[in-house]
């Protein structure tokens, strides 16, 4: 048997680093983890005695809660550090905060940071396993993994599916991780958004780029909406939110052009009436809440597999 059974890496920094086999291993492991979450006692002793620090430099409800539940279901000891109440407000650098935390000997650090590459910095200076929970406009690997898990759960495959990703392409780390993952797994990826929010040279990542939404949606198996990230926008990228909705908003009428069994995804938090109409978000094609549920299982898989990987290095 040559099937991959462990992640041979210390950290999960980016989907770009992962092989298709590693991605499949994470998704397969997540299926077993999902079952753990459906038991009367939703806890297994796999990470007993491991300490995981959740270090969040950006506000997050979904991702932080999801990681924390995942850690607790694996019996790890968890510690949440929200920056508003930490010494960061007293001027401590990220590297110093990390080294001080590391002095207390945690096994893993889950980091969310507004600067792209923050996790790579920690990876170089820390012994602990680093899990990227979103770094600036770079990557959000566990989001892409849970998206892939949700697609695979519904469609039974990733290869050959047409996936349309629509919205704020420029500022989205979810987009970058998803493009990496879906193209590696053989999906046909279309990206669509206003030309002002289209990253330069995006076509070189092996995707079809368009600003015509009907082209992107036509016969799509999966439509993924991305949030308009007003907090990251410094200029005027489009005239108004209402105009954005009228041109790019996902409505029931537009959705008719997709396949009849299309699924609608959104990484959250949603701006209803901007990138997605309420009747679509709450409609029968929506798997948005499945994504949230699956996030816990996928993060359990990542934490479990990385805990083994770190151990591999120690034993080698």
């Amino acid at each position: 048997m040559t099937a991959l059974t462990a992640l041979r890496r210390k950290d999960l920094l980016a989907i770009a680093d992962l092989s298709p086999e590693e991605i499949s291993l994470i998704l397969d492991t997540a299926e077993a983890m999902k079952e753990v979450g459906e038991r009367p006692i939703k806890k297994v002793p796999a990470l007993r005695g491991k300490t995981v620090v959740n270090l969040f430099y950006e506000p997050s409800t979904r991702t932080r809660t999801s990681f924390e539940i995942a850690e607790k279901r694996l019996s790890a000891d968890t510690l949440n550090i929200a920056v508003a109440s930490s010494s960061v407000v007293k001027g401590e650098t990220l590297a110093d905060t990390a080294l001080n935390l590391e002095a207390m000997n945690p096994d893993m650090i889950v980091l969310r940071h507004s600067s792209s590459g923050a996790c790579h910095l920690l990876s170089r200076i820390c012994k602990s396993a680093i899990v990227n929970a979103g770094d600036g406009m770079h990557e959000h690997p566990t989001q892409a993994l849970l998206d892939a898990f949700t697609i695979r759960e519904r469609k039974k495959k990733l290869k050959g599916l047409k996936v349309a990703i629509i919205g704020d392409l420029l500022h989205s780390r979810v987009l970058r991780s998803n493009i990496q993952l879906l193209t590696k797994m053989g999906s046909e990826v279309w990206v669509c958004g206003p030309p002002t929010l289209m990253p330069a040279g995006i076509a070189q990542f092996g995707v079809q780029a368009t600003s015509v939404i009907d082209e992107a949606i036509a016969d799509a198996d999966v439509v993924m909406l991305l949030r308009i990230q007003l907090e990251r926008m410094e200029g005027a990228y489009f005239p108004s939110l209402r105009e954005y909705f009228s041109v790019f908003g996902m409505t029931e009428a537009r959705l008719k052009q997709a396949k009849s069994d299309v699924i609608i995804m959104h990484p959250g938090p949603m701006n209803r009436g901007v990138e997605i109409a309420s009747e679509v978000a709450d409609g029968p094609y929506s798997v948005i809440l499945d994504q949230v549920a699956n996030g816990v299982a996928v993060r359990m898989a990542v934490l479990y597999l990385l805990a083994g990987g770190a151990n591999d290095e120690a034993a080698a």
Binding site: A6, T29, P40, V44, P45, K50, A301, G308, D312
Partner: protein, 180 residues
């Protein structure tokens, strides 16, 4: 590689164990079968068929993956670690008599992990252990209730169970060297 059990012998052994189960439990009421993945799972399904032939009705059958409960999980170097597979116990085990099935009983550590896992699913009336081969060398106070074959082995030997469902043939082999 001496064959210690061939296909016929494995078949007869499972039939014999099925009769023992019915005798000892005075029927099949409240019984459930749970196999430890992966070969215990196959054996549990065969026992379910055999018990249906004898007693006339279906015994709920589930599969248990014990990887997340192993005591060496975070101690061993990664190497050829088992993939975590799905546990499927689609029924309540509260008050039921569980027939826990595995292929080879050796140190007893797998069974310890399985007992811990089962307790997380509910409070069974009792748990009875069925193994196809008991090769000795226990490291924990664990004993099987139904044994297909007692096979004295040395620590240098390994016992490999091959089953039609996963390996394309039914055979139990005693090998020199290697761990199992």
């Amino acid at each position: 590689m001496p064959t210690v059990m061939d296909a016929d012998r494995i078949g007869r052994t499972l039939t014999r164990i099925s009769h023992e189960i019915v005798e000892r439990n005075r029927g099949v009421e409240d019984l459930v079968l749970i196999g430890i993945r992966t070969r215990g799972d196959h054996l549990a399904r065969r026992l379910a068929r055999s018990l249906r032939d004898i007693a006339g009705h279906d015994i709920p059958t589930g599969a248990l993956d014990i990887t997340l409960y192993r005591d060496d999980l975070m101690r061993q170097a990664v190497g050829p670690r088992a993939i975590v597979r799905k546990t499927e116990i689609p029924f309540s085990i509260d008050g039921r008599k569980i027939l826990l099935v595995d292929d080879v009983l050796y140190s007893g550590r797998t069974i310890r992990a399985a007992l811990d896992a089962l307790i997380d699913f509910g409070r069974p009336k009792n748990i009875q252990l069925i193994v196809l081969v008991d090769r000795g060398h226990r490291e924990l106070p664990i004993k099987a209730d139904y044994v297909g074959k007692n096979l004295p082995t040395s620590l240098e030997e390994s016992v490999q169970v091959y089953l039609e469902e996963s390996d394309g043939r039914d055979e139990v082999v005693l090998q020199q060297g290697g761990a199992a």
